[in-house]
C-alpha cells in the first residue's frame, strides 16, 4: 500500500480543461472517493493515477515515486473499470489470473491464486465459465477479483457499481466497505453517487469543473458543506437553499425572505466579513431537519403544498413559495394534506447553514473540528 499525491495537476484536452491545478494528498490505507457530476474531472484524475492519461502539467506521486510519466504497467496498481473489461475469450480463471500471467507466474500458481480470490468473492464455482455466461453481479465480482489477485500499491475504482441494479449495488457496496477495512487498502474510488461516497470513503473529494471544492471526511462534507455546490450535491434529497437578504439588528443577524420567519442569529466574524461584500446570502436547511409546524411558528418557512410523496417510512413534503421556488422536507407523517394548502415547515437554528454571495460556507465562531 502507498499514498498518492497530486501536485498542482492540470489536464487539458484541446481547449477543454478537465482537471485544473489539483492538489490532493491521499494517505496510505485511505479510501478516497472522488465525487462529482459528469464532466467534473473525477474520472480523468483517476485515469492519471492509473497512467491512462498524462497530466498536461504537475506531478503525481505514488508512495515516494514520481509516476507522472510512467507507463501503467510499471505502476503496480490495479483498477476496476465501469464496464468491467472482462476479456470475452478467456474464462473467469484466466481473466482473474491475467495480471499474474503478464508477471510471468506459472499456470499452477496463477490458477491457484485465482481460485483463492474467487472463493473469497463467492465466484469460485464459476471459474470455467466465460464472462458472457455469468450475471452482471458476478461479472462485477470477477473484475474485482482480477484487481485483488496481485498485491497493488493503490486500488482504483471507476464507478464500479454503476452497471448494477439497486439491490446488487447495495450488496456490493457493503462488501467493498468490509474489504477495504479488512485489507486496509489504499483506494481511489470515482462515483457520482453521493450515497456510495458517504458509505465507503474515509475522505471525499468533491469535484466541480476540474477543481476540488471540498476534501474532507464524509461527516464533515455532510455537516459542513464548504459551498452551496457541495451542499446541493451531497444529501438526498439535496439541501434546500433559500436566497435571503441580511441585515444587522441589535448585534444579531436578521435574515429575511418571502415566507421565512426567523429570529435573530448570532453575529459572527465570518458573517461580518461576508456582509462587507454583499447582503445577499444563502440559507441552507437539509430536508431531514424540517418538520411540519403550526402556522406562525418561529424559525419556519411556509408555502403552499406542491407534492406529498409517501416513501413508506417517511414522506417528502414539498412546498412552493410565492416566488415559485420549492422547499422539500423529509418527515415522518401519514397525514393527508390538500394540494395547495398552506404548510409551514419549522427547523431549529442549529441546523441552519449560511453561505455568502459567492456560495462559500460561512463558519460559525469557534467551530470545533468534527
Amino acid at each position: 500500500m502507498a499514498s498518492v499525491v497530486f501536485e498542482n495537476v492540470t489536464k487539458t484536452f484541446g481547449s477543454f480543461t478537465a482537471v485544473a491545478g489539483v492538489d490532493l494528498s491521499i494517505g496510505d490505507g485511505e479510501f478516497v472517493c472522488l465525487l462529482g457530476p459528469s464532466g467534473c474531472g473525477k474520472t480523468t484524475s483517476l485515469r492519471m493515477i492509473a497512467g491512462l492519461e498524462t497530466p498536461t502539467s504537475g506531478k503525481i506521486f505514488i508512495g515516494d515515486q514520481d509516476v507522472t510519466g510512467l507507463h501503467p504497467k510499471d505502476r503496480q496498481i490495479s483498477m476496476v473499470f465501469q464496464d468491467y473489461a472482462l476479456y470475452p475469450h478467456m474464462n473467469l480463471a484466466d481473466n482473474i489470473a491475467y495480471p499474474l500471467k503478464v508477471r510471468g507466474e506459472s499456470v499452477e500458481k496463477r490458477h491457484g491464486r485465482a481460485r483463492e480470490v474467487a472463493d473469497v468473492l463467492k465466484i469460485g464455482t464459476l471459474l470455467n465459465r466465460l464472462p458472457s455466461q455469468i450475471s452482471g453481479g458476478q461479472q462485477q465480482r470477477t473484475s474485482l477479483a482480477r484487481a485483488l489477485v496481485y498485491p497493488s500499491r493503490v486500488y482504483l475504482f471507476d464507478e464500479p457499481l454503476s452497471n448494477l441494479d439497486a439491490k446488487l449495488r447495495l450488496e456490493a457496496r457493503g462488501f467493498l466497505n468490509h474489504l477495504q477495512r479488512d485489507m486496509g487498502m489504499t483506494a481511489v474510488y470515482v462515483t457520482h453517487d453521493q450515497a456510495e461516497a458517504m458509505a465507503l470513503a474515509t475522505r471525499i473529494a468533491v469535484m466541480d469543473q476540474g477543481r476540488i471544492v471540498q476534501y474532507a471526511p464524509p461527516i464533515e462534507i455532510y455537516r459542513r458543506p464548504a459551498t452551496t455546490f457541495v451542499a446541493n450535491f451531497v444529501g438526498n434529497p439535496p439541501m434546500n437553499l433559500v436566497p435571503v437578504e441580511a441585515a444587522h439588528g441589535d448585534g444579531q443577524l436578521l435574515l429575511s425572505a418571502d415566507g421565512l420567519a426567523l429570529g435573530g442569529l448570532p453575529m459572527s466574524s465570518g458573517v461580518a466579513t461576508a456582509l462587507q461584500a454583499s447582503k445577499a446570502l444563502t440559507l441552507g436547511i437539509r430536508p431531514e431537519h424540517l418538520t411540519v409546524a403550526a402556522p406562525g411558528a418561529a424559525n419556519a418557512i411556509s408555502g403552499k403544498l406542491f407534492a406529498n410523496e409517501n416513501m413508506g417510512p417517511e414522506s417528502l413534503v414539498t412546498i412552493e413559495r410565492a416566488d415559485g421556488s420549492r422547499v422539500t422536507a423529509r418527515i415522518f407523517t401519514d397525514d393527508h394534506i390538500e394540494l395547495g394548502a398552506d404548510v409551514t415547515l419549522g427547523f431549529s437554528l442549529e441546523h441552519v447553514h449560511l453561505f455568502d454571495s459567492t456560495g462559500a460556507r460561512i463558519p460559525a465562531d469557534g467551530e470545533m473540528p468534527l
Partner: protein
C-alpha cells in the same frame, strides 16, 4: 512529457507500414502513373515501349476527336453505351428490383423468403466466370433454357447475344447485382420500428400506402447510398466481357472493356491510360458525392450501408 496512448506513435507507424507500402504501390502509385502515362505514346511493344515520348494532350485529343467520337468502337460511343448501361441496369434495374424484392421479403413466409433470397444472393456471390458460362448456356440459340421456354410458350426463339446484345448485358447486370440493393433495403426496412407499421395497420392503411407513406420516406438515405454505390460499381464493371467480349461490333463495349481493348489488344498504353484517367475522374465525382453524404449520415445508418 510523453503522452500516454494505447499505442505509441512509433509502434503505430510500424503497424501502419505494411498497409502503407501496399496501398502506396498499388493504389497511389497507379493513380499518378496512369496520369503520367496518359501524356505519353507508350506502347506494349516496339520502340515506344522502352522510350515513350511525351505527347502532351494528344491521347485525349484522339479520344475526343469529333470526327470519330460517336463512331462505334470509339471512345464516345463507348461512353454513351456505358451511361445507358448504368442508367438502365443499375439505377432502374437493380435499384427498383432490389426495392421490390426487399418489400416482398417483409410479407412472405420464411420458407419462400429463404428460397428467393438464396437465388438472388446466389446470382451475386458466384464467381463471375461461372455466371458468365451459365448465362452463355442459358442464352444458347439451339438448346438454351431461355429458348426452350420461348418455344414452350409458342414464341419465336432468338439469338439474343447477337440480336439484342445490349439488352442482354443490361438484364444480366440487373440480375447479377440486384442482391446488393435488396439486402441494403432489407436492413433499411428492418431498422424501421414495427410499431410504425402497426400504427398504420390500426389506422387502416393498405400495403401500398404503408410503403409509400412510411417506409419510403424513412429509407430515403439508404436509397441515395444505394444509388451511388451501385452506380460506381456498375460503371467500373468488367463482367459483361465474359458474355459478349464487348461485341458484336462493339455494341456492348463498356468503357472498362474499351480500355482493356485499347491497352491490351491494340497495345496502346498511352491511349488506354487516358481512358483510365477519364474513368477515374468520373469515379472521383461519384466517390466525393458518396463520401460527403456518408459524412453527414448518422453512424447507425452508415453501419447498415457499408
Amino acid at each position: 512529457m510523453k503522452q500516454f496512448s494505447l499505442l505509441s506513435r512509433r509502434v503505430a507507424a510500424l503497424f501502419l507500414a505494411p498497409g502503407a507500402i501496399l496501398v502506396g504501390l498499388f493504389i497511389l502509385l497507379p493513380f499518378f502513373w496512369v496520369i503520367f502515362v496518359s501524356f505519353t505514346n507508350r506502347t506494349l511493344l516496339g520502340r515506344t515501349a522502352l522510350n515513350p515520348e511525351f505527347v502532351g494532350l494528344q491521347n485525349y485529343v484522339r479520344l475526343f476527336d469529333p470526327a470519330t467520337f460517336f463512331t462505334r468502337g470509339q471512345f464516345g460511343s463507348s461512353l454513351i453505351i456505358t451511361t445507358e448501361f448504368v442508367l438502365l441496369s443499375a439505377l432502374v434495374g437493380q435499384a427498383l428490383l432490389g426495392l421490390l424484392l426487399a418489400w416482398l421479403m417483409q410479407a412472405i413466409r420464411p420458407g419462400l423468403k429463404r428460397f428467393v433470397e438464396a437465388m438472388v444472393i446466389g446470382a451475386w456471390i458466384l464467381p463471375e466466370v461461372v455466371i458468365g458460362f451459365a448465362w452463355f448456356a442459358f442464352l444458347d440459340y439451339d438448346n438454351g433454357t431461355l429458348n426452350m421456354i420461348m418455344r414452350g410458350l409458342g414464341l419465336p426463339p432468338g439469338d439474343f447475344l447477337l440480336q439484342q446484345p445490349f439488352w442482354v448485358i443490361v438484364i444480366f447486370n440487373t440480375w447479377r447485382g440486384a442482391a446488393f440493393s435488396m439486402m441494403l433495403f432489407n436492413s433499411a426496412f428492418a431498422s424501421i420500428p414495427p410499431s410504425y407499421f402497426q400504427a398504420a395497420d390500426v389506422a387502416g392503411a393498405s400495403s401500398w400506402q404503408k410503403f409509400r407513406d412510411i417506409a419510403l420516406p424513412l429509407i430515403r438515405g439508404h436509397v441515395v447510398t444505394d444509388l451511388i454505390l451501385i452506380t460506381m460499381w456498375t460503371f467500373n464493371v468488367f463482367t459483361p466481357f465474359l458474355l459478349t467480349h464487348g461485341g458484336p461490333a462493339y455494341r456492348t463495349e463498356l468503357l472498362s472493356i474499351y480500355n482493356y481493348r485499347v491497352a491490351f489488344r491494340d497495345f496502346e498504353f498511352g491511349k488506354g491510360a487516358a481512358v483510365g484517367v477519364i474513368i477515374m475522374l468520373i469515379n472521383l465525382v461519384l466517390a466525393l458525392i458518396y463520401l460527403s453524404i456518408g459524412r453527414r449520415k448518422s453512424k447507425a445508418e452508415k453501419e447498415a450501408a457499408t
